[in-house]
């Protein structure tokens, strides 16, 4: 439906452009413009060089910046990933056009998909596509998505080893139509992708983790939508989630009084990894009504900055609420553990008030529930301390 809409819009635009050119010719005395040539030029401009397909539109993306989807006549689509790699999606029953460049070709429909990251499964969930998963690189005990766990226990989904060195023989035997893999992270997956190429296993690089806005990460559901011809469902889902986030933003804007200050970090190998001001998680907590206490910390960068205990203490001494990511820094699971890591942390305001929140185990496997997470965070900021000890995704540390 959407594709048809885009097609007609584009066609109307082309006709309008043609009409404009024709009337323009009349108006411009002495100008020798050949309308047929101009029309052909207008069409030529829309022809994709690599495939010879006529471009009719592009997927509208509000926040995501690491992928794009282009639509072509005949129901063809081209997805361009963060690295510029192009994937041509060929609709069912259609031929692969004559290709002038080395381009990844995937035939639709995709019935079986390999998942090399738990977040990829979370992106499949809202579109009802979890039953398409045939192989994963996360062991059954580490899954918090019941459908996947169940699929593994029933033998429908196979664990194929770690994502940096999977069992290629198993994957070859399962022969998925597509593997969703995260490349460019340096975790050995680029080598895996090269081996997939040699084996003729189709893969596409996902990269929601490259988005520095939580709404951009959420928008990757549209990427999955394009792969499975479920653009409409993806857009509906995304718009509903976005609306939910906007409603929270409105509520936050109407809040009276000063915003509470927060910080977010985790400890690994004696180094504190503190969220940059430009990180997606900070934005998520800010959308829920918090004010980041380390506002000077790399406002233009996603990810974390390293700090020692002293430096961190100096920066967050007066913080109202602490978010400690106990899923990434597993050595700390309680306030006592936090104090044990640096005794003087006991004097941090949030620690004194015992307002340290941890992350529940299923947090990272619910990338499609960003709006709910923001709602949870809003609840944490607006509920008087002591009234709640947990939400769906967070828990108050003992």
């Amino acid at each position: 439906m959407i594709r048809r809409k885009i097609y007609f819009t584009k066609l109307t635009l082309l006709l309008l452009a043609l009409a404009f050119m024709l009337t323009g010719c009349k108006g411009q005395e002495g100008a020798s413009v050949n309308s047929q040539e101009d029309f052909e030029e207008a069409v030529m401009e829309n022809i994709d060089e690599d495939t010879g397909l006529i471009h009719i539109g592009q997927m509208e993306l509000k926040y995501a910046e690491s992928f794009s989807v282009d639509y072509y006549q005949g129901g063809y689509k081209i997805i361009t990933d963060w690295n510029g790699r192009r994937t041509l999606l060929v609709p069912e029953g259609k031929e692969v056009p004559q290709l002038k460049a080395d381009i990844n070709v995937i035939h639709l429909p995709i019935e079986s998909v390999g998942v090399f990251a738990t977040t990829a499964a979370a992106e499949l969930r809202p579109l009802g596509l979890l039953d398409k998963i045939s192989l994963v690189t996360t062991e059954v005990d580490d899954w918090h998505i019941p459908e996947v766990k169940e699929g593994m226990e029933e033998g429908r989904i196979t664990y194929v080893g770690r994502n940096s060195s999977p069992d290629y023989e198993l994957i070859q035997a399962i022969k998925p139509d597509l593997v969703l893999i995260t490349t460019g992270t340096g975790h050995g997956t680029d080598e895996v992708a090269a081996k997939f190429d040699e084996l003729g296993i189709k893969w596409i690089s996902r990269g929601s983790q490259r988005e520095s806005d939580p709404r951009g990460r959420l928008e990757w559901v549209k990427f999955v939508g394009a792969l499975f011809d479920k653009e409409e469902e993806a857009e509906e889902f995304y718009d509903a989630q976005l609306k939910k986030i906007e409603e929270i933003e409105e509520r936050v804007a109407n809040l009276e009084g000063e915003r509470e200050k927060f910080a977010s970090f985790f400890l690994s190998n004696d180094i504190y990894y503190v969220r940059n001001k430009g990180d997606y998680e900070v934005k998520m907590i800010e959308l829920a009504g918090g004010e980041y206490i380390l506002s000077h910390l790399n406002p233009d960068q996603d990810g974390n900055s390293k700090m020692n205990a002293e430096e961190l203490y100096k920066g967050i001494e007066d913080v109202d609420i602490l978010f400690y990511n106990n899923r990434l820094g597993r050595s700390i699971q309680s306030i006592d553990d936090l104090i044990a890591s640096a005794e003087y942390f006991a004097d941090i305001k949030a620690v004194r008030d015992r307002r340290v929140w941890g992350y529940k185990p299923h947090y990272f496997q619910h990338a499609d529930r960003v709006a709910d997470m923001i709602e949870d965070l809003y609840t944490i900021f607006t509920t008087p301390h002591g009234e709640i000890t947990e939400t769906e995704y967070f828990f108050l540390m003992d």
Binding site: Y159, V160, G161, R162, S164, S165, P166, D167, Y168, E169, L170, Q172, A173, K175, T185, G186, H187, G188, D190, E191, V192, A193, A194, K195, E198, L199, G200, S268, Y273, G303, N304, K306, L328
Partner: protein, 338 residues
């Protein structure tokens, strides 16, 4: 038993052992083939399905060939260095080759530094590793021209390794959390994901280098009998030393580039071969070391992928478990066989 007869018997035994390790790697995996299947495939009495074809020709055989090439290369590389230093406890990475490679891979993985050559997709990491290994080797060669005392050169090599490691650690200090894991992963080595393109490149480097080493058997023997004897044979000691280091580093640089640093093969295999063959004659030892190195790596790779399948162990985890006891044995029962 005569030395030659013993050597021939051992070489024959090593060939049989190599065939055995190739066979277990060929038949075992997620899709099982029996030896009869293999025989039928070889004699073209059996048609392969696409799945079987891909598993055999695109997964198992490239992996076996890489184990064969890299194991042999590491063994020969270690042998050359042990000959050079007249010390059975040195390995291919003693002169900072792996530290140099790790430093350059670190630049590639840990920092935002980018060069066009490093952006060559998956090849970037191999290029970085190869360049790092060769630069470390060139530095050692530079010092080899100035330092006559071999033990001093070992110290120089170790110091260069420390400098490269310090550089890597410096990068780790400032690197992002996720990127550090990548370097750790690379540092452990693996044959997983080896492609035919990588093998072709490795073949071009490893086979001529090994043949050249074999052709140098006579001067190597002379060198082992003492510098005075070597000089009397007309060997230019300084040049010969440089050739030894260059050949050894070339081999280990190639392995490191494609499979990451693999520990213990270079130390344990040459010594074990000497113990078995009870000779120091290079013309006999070189084929023996290559065969044992290949078998050792293939066996280690079999365990790496079979023990916790489908989780794959890193190759160095297995080679170290097997190699370390051998090194301890060597230290305790050190014999003057060199």
């Amino acid at each position: 038993m005569g030395k030659n007869k013993r050597a021939i018997l051992i070489i024959a035994g090593l060939i049989i052992f190599l065939i055995f390790t190739i066979a277990i790697n060929l038949v075992s995996g997620s899709v099982d083939f029996t030896l009869k299947d293999l025989k039928d495939i070889l004699l073209k009495n059996r048609e392969l399905s696409t799945l079987e074809y891909n598993i055999l020709y695109k997964i198992r055989i490239p992996r076996i060939v890489s184990g064969l090439l890299y194991g042999g290369a590491l063994g020969i590389s270690g042998f050359l260095l042990q000959t050079f230093f007249r010390n059975p406890i040195v390995g291919p990475y003693v002169l900072g080759v792996s530290s140099g490679a790790r430093f350059f891979v670190g630049i590639f993985l840990l920092t935002n530094f980018s060069l066009k050559v490093f952006q060559a997709g998956v090849l970037g990491i191999f290029i970085a590793s190869f360049v790092g290994s060769l630069l470390a080797m060139l530095l050692v060669l530079l010092f080899a021209q100035k330092v006559n005392d071999i033990s001093k050169l070992v110290v120089v090599g170790i110091m260069l390794g420390y400098i490269a490691s310090a550089g890597t650690n410096l990068m780790i200090t400032f690197a992002e959390y996720e990127k550090i894991a990548s370097l750790t992963l690379w540092s452990m080595g693996s044959f997983s994901g080896i492609t035919w393109d990588m093998i072709k490149f490795s073949f071009i480097i490893i086979i001529p280098t090994v043949i050249l080493t074999f052709l140098l058997s006579k001067p190597l023997e002379g060198y082992l009998l003492g510098e005075g004897y070597a000089r009397s044979m007309g060997i230019n000691i300084k040049t010969f030393r440089i050739i030894l280091i260059a050949l050894s580093s070339m081999l280990s640089a190639c392995v490191t580039a494609f499979a990451g640093p693999i520990s213990f093969v270079g130390i344990a295999v040459p010594h074990l071969t000497r113990l078995m063959m009870k000779t120091s004659q290079p013309k006999v030892l070189i084929p023996g070391i290559f065969l044992l190195g290949s078998s050792f790596c293939l066996l280690a790779d079999y365990f790496a992928r079979a023990i916790f399948s489908p989780i794959e162990l890193n190759i160095s985890t297995v080679t170290s478990f097997i190699g370390a006891p051998i090194v301890i044995y060597m230290m305790v029962n050190r014999r003057k066989v060199i």
